[in-house]
Symmetry: C2
Subunit: 199 residues, 2 copies
């Protein structure tokens, strides 16, 4: 069965609620999800942005934090908190995710990273934090962290970014159906699932 | 009864589907809509942008036109077309809208301007086009166009932009509930209506 591809950056705030609800939304329609970590940084850099647009546009940033408070409350998630610094560096977490099998282990790791970051304010660029998350899931943290620093994994993440660009992705979360339709944003998740369900 | 405030720019693409469906969505919850035209241009200029972000970010622009094709199809609206130039200059249309009573005459004029622009590709910055739209609605076009060029109306539009900024508005469409919650984007319209309905 073709899967709905879920493109996410660990530093992306709206990817958090999407990561927490995509499996259930997709399962209701009998659809599988493929977890596709990537980095927005290089895509933003190409636009001349050196940080998140939510920092570059303070009004949009203020709106986003309030909006995510509302969204988390409606989803019964813990209150959304702002990491310091924001955005966090998501490079290591993305490399680790690529070392894990898509989809169950990668899904569980990814959801845990979002929780650690936005509910507990843990620094997700630190090996200790990533190791603790892997440990909690019964995964071999040391081995996986070592693997995540290998050249093949670094290259795999660069390929992910290149593929995202090729698909026309410019933000996260994005959802790509098996016929190539792109849907951008947590609030378009249900549209993407419906589109995939019709294929 | 407090109304849901609908902030829109005539050049804004996502404001078009919002303008076409907001009255029905609000009426289902027994809510009135107050139509608040404003200009995004000065707000974008303050960010150093000299045109629409959909032009500044070509990938985002391509996505937006495809996304609006899907949205118009789902709403049984005529196919969305791209005006040339894009964005259109929305200054005159906004001034005319401010001369019309909120909400029925302003609503009908605003919906007609969106249709003229995005379905028929008419230049909405031309007096002839605006006059034709007013005529169609049995309004005194010549009188209204003359009034729309008066200093009080120009000042009223500047005040609208200042008020939008004060509310934290940075994009269109935006919906502001009577307790000051801001919701941004056509896909957040239903959330805004639900929020207002609880007040």
């Amino acid at each position: 069965m073709p899967a709905l591809h879920f493109w996410y950056d660990f530093a992306s705030t709206y990817s958090y609620p999407a990561a927490m609800r995509i499996e259930e939304a997709a399962a209701r329609q009998g659809i599988a999800v493929s977890w596709q970590p990537f980095l927005l940084g290089p895509i933003f850099e190409a636009l001349g942005w050196n940080t998140s647009p939510f920092n570059l546009q303070p009004e949009k940033g203020r709106y986003m934090w309030r909006d995510l408070e509302r969204i988390c409350a409606a989803m019964d998630l813990p209150p959304m908190r702002k990491p310091n610094p924001f955005p966090q560096n998501s490079l290591k977490a993305a490399r680790v995710a690529l070392c894990l099998e898509d989809r169950e282990p990668r899904k569980r790791f990814s959801q845990a990273v979002y929780h650690a970051q936005f509910a507990w304010l843990l620094p997700i660029d630190e090996d200790e934090v990533l190791a603790a998350i892997l440990d909690c899931q019964g995964l071999r943290a040391e081995e996986i962290l070592a693997k995540s620093a290998e050249p093949e994994v670094k290259q795999a993440l660069r390929s992910q970014v290149a593929k995202a660009r090729q698909l026309g992705i410019f933000g996260a979360p994005s959802f790509v159906t098996s016929d190539g339709e792109v849907f951008w944003g947590n609030d378009r998740l249900d549209d993407a699932v419906r589109w995939q369900a019709r294929l």
